[in-house]
Amino acid sequence: MIARLNYINQNFILMTFLLGMSFFVSAQQVSISGRICDQNNEGISNAVVTVIRSSQDVEIMAYDHSDSEGKFSLMLDAQKAGDSVWVVVKHLAFEPLKIRLAAKTATRVFKLSPRTEVLDEVILKSKQTFSVRGDTLTYAVNGLKRGKDISIEDVISRIPGVSISENGQIRYFDKPISHLYVNGLDLLQGRYSIATRGIPADAVKEIDVLKNHNHERIAIGRKSSEAVAMNLKINEDEGVFFGSATIAAGTPVLTRQIEGTPIVFRNNFQNISLIKHNNIGISYRDLNDNLISESSALVNYDSDETRIVRQPLLMGSGVSEKYWLNNDSYAASNDALHRIGDSTMVKWNVSYINDLGRIRSGSSTIFTGEDFSQTVENDYNTKLRTQVLSANVQQEVNKRNLFLKNTSNLSLNNEDGNENVLLNGNPINSDYEFQNFKFSNGSDFKIHLGRSKILQVGLLFSYLQSTEQLEVQPDVFSEVIPSVTPAENTTQTFKLSNLNAAMSGGLNFSLKKMEIEVTQNLRYRSDNLSGGLYRGMVAPQAQFPFFGDLDYRQFSSSSSVKSRLKFGKFNTVALMVVDYESFAVNENLSPDLAIRNNFLFFQPNLSLNYRVNRNWTSTSRYSRTNQLSRLPDMLPSYVLVNYNTVVQNQLFINQVATDALSHSLDYFNLLTNFSFSFAGIWNQSRSDILLSSQIDSQGFLLTEINRARNTTLSRGVRASIGKTLFSKLKGQLSYDFTAIESNLIFNGDFVRALSNRNTITAEMYWDYRDKIGLDYELQASFNTSRLPSTEIQNRMFFHKVGMDVYVSEKLRVNGSLESAIALIVGQDRANRNTIANLSCFYKPSKKLSANISAINLFDVRTFTTTFAMANTVSVSNFFLRPRQITAGLTYAF
């Protein structure tokens, strides 16, 4: 009995203790529970209930959502809750309720009132930016476009990985795109900047980025490709006829710009016309530049435009040509495409460019040797007019088992220019002329032979004729160039005719997991280059070494085997090229100057790519290439290259063998748009030529070519990091270091020059809710030219800052500053220049925009940059256009 009583007592004590403990524990927490209901006492489900410390607080202490009966339950830490807390109840269909409660356990009923405003049907509609389907990334233009974008080029530049150069070339992760299609058709080929700059941003619905792209249908699924293309999809409601037109005028009187790009798009017909004129510093010389890398096997065999004499320099560096180029430019072109059926296309193009450019500039160049230093001062007034007329017809059949393309080109080029120079205080006038006619026809044929075999055949034929003339007053190099009578000018003339024919054959096939491509190319080239250098008005009898008449014949055979193999995480591409070159060169004015030479080269190229994981890749590359002297390098006669430089080559064929090795580590995350890359580069070139230059006190340079073994070594590292958040934020930072060691003979001394270049570039733009936009670019260069006993350092800092303020949805004000600091270390002063611009844009509708711009607001007169190479450092000044104020209208129709 007593034992039983004791047992009962023990249990009682234990139960009391346990109950007491639970009460004690629950006293540390506060429970708020209850029910959310409407005015009719009906429970409200899915209401969000949160508890915060004060009415302004954002940190949530506890939260819950109501169940189907409107019930909820929250637990709070009593110590953190304090004396009171705020309970916030929210629901989409009801007005929010915020109420203060004592921080103690309680059960409450919260009644919500219906919203006074009708709930929007659409609560959120995201600007969907991109979607992925296989190798195609599709970007919605609405998700990328900013308010200030006028042409589709402005939008394309916002795609992560894309950069666009001044001439309009689009690069995707540093690789030029292979095609730009519009609605799936390749109208403009390499001249696609006409479309990207002429098609209004609002006319395009989506932009496709096509990775691993094969334009030729015969290659799809049969041959790998690393090419990247883009496709612009025009809005369906844009209509058949659209485009844009711009007109602007201002001071100084009369600054003007007129542009029109009418576009016609039908199912089987596309046409883009272009008519442009301006004198506000925009040159059209690059309009016909080929911006794509051609895939044809014979592209390397097409005749180059060979120039012997340097054309007048129209070049400013560091800032856009709109600040320093005085111009009068006209351009007109028309491109049309007819589609016949699903696979046949005929394209034709005609274009005319008439571009007059003028620039005033000056430079101070320091030439250094072992124990001397000489400065050459130049002041230039340069003028160059370029006229180009070209026509092009192309037929293409692009089928699954057959590809056929034929392209015919005709171009006429005329340039005339003038350089008025003060060379170390001495006036010199130099007149330049160049005419060129070229016709070429190229054909590509590919056929599928079963399984993955593709047979390809190509043919190329071209004919080129050109003339050049340079006339310098007063006469120059009188101690070198004889004249029987006193002369007032020195003249250099050249005439070139070139015939070129090439053919190629190739076979693509697969062997187990390996893709193999075998090609054989043959080429025959015949040139005649004649010219003369003389003083006086009348050319004397042609005599070597001041006159030349060179016959040049070259036969080339190139055989290559390329294999591509993927195994595991490795991807290898191995290429072996065997080149045979045979030359026959005769100087007809000096019969003992003739060479017959044959060369056989083995040129391996190996690339090994290792995919470390989803985002990291590592790539190693090695290549050996051999280059032989070009035709102008073989001229054994004296050549007046420009007003102060004479060169005399030797008649022999120089071979430059280059070994290049690189290794890179890359990271790219498509979803977070973060990229990082690091690369090391090593190049060594060995040639049989050493340049020997003599410069006199008046700044005239005489260069001879000596046969001597010469090695140039280049090493470098490159690192970059970037982050993009589509239209909101983009940042890119990169560092580039290059060290170049080279040899030359200068004023009788052998010079081993070391140039170190360090360049930091940074780019950022940031957009805050389409209210404020900020653009910033920085380029900082730190260069050193080092000889055994001397060293020259130069620095260049270039900043570009732009700010957009959106006063309203239609009105935007933009201000920008471009500034540069150029200095040579050790000199007294640094050259600092800042150009300020202010613009105001008003866009009352999607189709119309107006602007007023003031360029070079503070009327800065000159801009200075600096550059170093081998044993020279130069500081250049460019005279800028005066302050310019223009008002313009752009209409998208």
Binding site: N40, N46, A47, I60, A93, L124, S126, S131, G134, R614
Partner: protein, 291 residues
């Protein structure tokens, strides 16, 4: 039977005296309580479209996108692929055609239904339908980090689920605890959620309100097959089955599909160029949301 009749019979059974009142007065009196909102319109339907960006295979950084849809209808929500919703809508009108079946495929054949804190998961592997119930993951950790998504100020929450860490951004100004897939329970609509390795990213692209009825016959969201079998399993059991299924070669999958019909099938495939494909080759390793 009309409502009025039902009420009258019910009342007559319970309150005999009342039957003496004129019937139409009684009916009107009772019906007057039936007028007005059956329930106040306090849970207007919501439809959220999420873009799912995912890495399909474990050995590749290739990324794909697909549209998914979340619908909240009173107390029940449904999450599935836009293509499966379309399949369901088509089957309400007519039998599905071969072209429609081929054109409306989804990367994963599942749907998720939630009610309160419980969810029902339904997935089709081959011609086998699997379903299980589990609790909605709710052990969120709120992080005081603000971000702006599509104009909405969002806060961050993290959760561990399925062997992954998930980072979610929710908008307190859209007061609903909804989210994609199995994720919900935050004090605001989840506008974006991704695992820490960004293999699966859900981004809200559209939120609209209106009337969006949900068909709770889940078989109707998939291509019908004669003799559909539904297996009720436990979650872990299902993940094992799914992993095993994903490791079957094409030949093994097709044999499994035809098991019931007593046929032994062997597949051989030839491409357009005459090349042969090995149907017995093990497939690439797939990524799934749950590890």
């Amino acid at each position: 039977m009309s409502e009025a009749h039902f009420v009258k019979n019910y009342v007559a059974h319970i309150f005999p005296e009342m039957v003496k009142l004129p019937a139409f007065i009684l009916i009107l009196f009772i019906l007057s309580f039936q007028t007005g909102d059956q329930s106040s319109d306090n849970s207007r339907d919501i439809r959220v479209k999420y873009t799912l960006t995912y890495q399909r295979f474990a050995d590749s950084k290739e990324v794909r996108t697909v549209n998914t849809v979340l619908i909240q209808n009173k107390n029940v929500s449904l999450f599935t692929f836009e293509s499966l919703l379309r399949l369901n809508a088509i089957q309400k009108e007519h039998a599905i055609t071969e072209g429609e079946a081929l054109g409306l495929t989804a990367p994963f054949n599942f749907l998720i239904s939630k009610e309160g804190d419980n969810l029902t998961y339904y997935e089709v592997l081959g011609n086998e339908h699997y379903t299980f119930k589990e609790k909605v993951p709710t052990n969120w950790k709120l992080i005081g980090q603000d971000t702006l998504i599509d104009g909405y100020s969002c806060k961050k929450g993290t959760i561990a689920y399925g062997g992954r860490i998930w980072n979610a951004y929710y908008a307190p100004d859209i007061p609903t605890s909804l989210g994609p897939y199995k994720f919900s329970g935050l004090p605001g609509l989840i506008l974006r959620i991704a695992d820490s390795e960004n293999k699966f990213v859900f981004s809200a692209s559209e939120v609209i309100t209106g009337e969006f009825p949900i068909d709770e016959t889940y078989e109707k969201y998939f291509v019908p097959d004669r003799g559909t079998r539904v297996f009720k399993v436990q979650p872990n059991e299902f993940y094992k089955i799914r992993k095993q299924y994903s490791q079957l070669s094409l030949n093994e999958q097709i044999r499994r599909l035809n098991n019931d019909h007593g046929a032994k099938v062997d597949v051989s495939m030839q491409g357009l160029n005459g090349e042969t494909f090995d149907a017995n080759k093990p497939p690439r390793v797939r990524n799934f949301i749950e590890l």
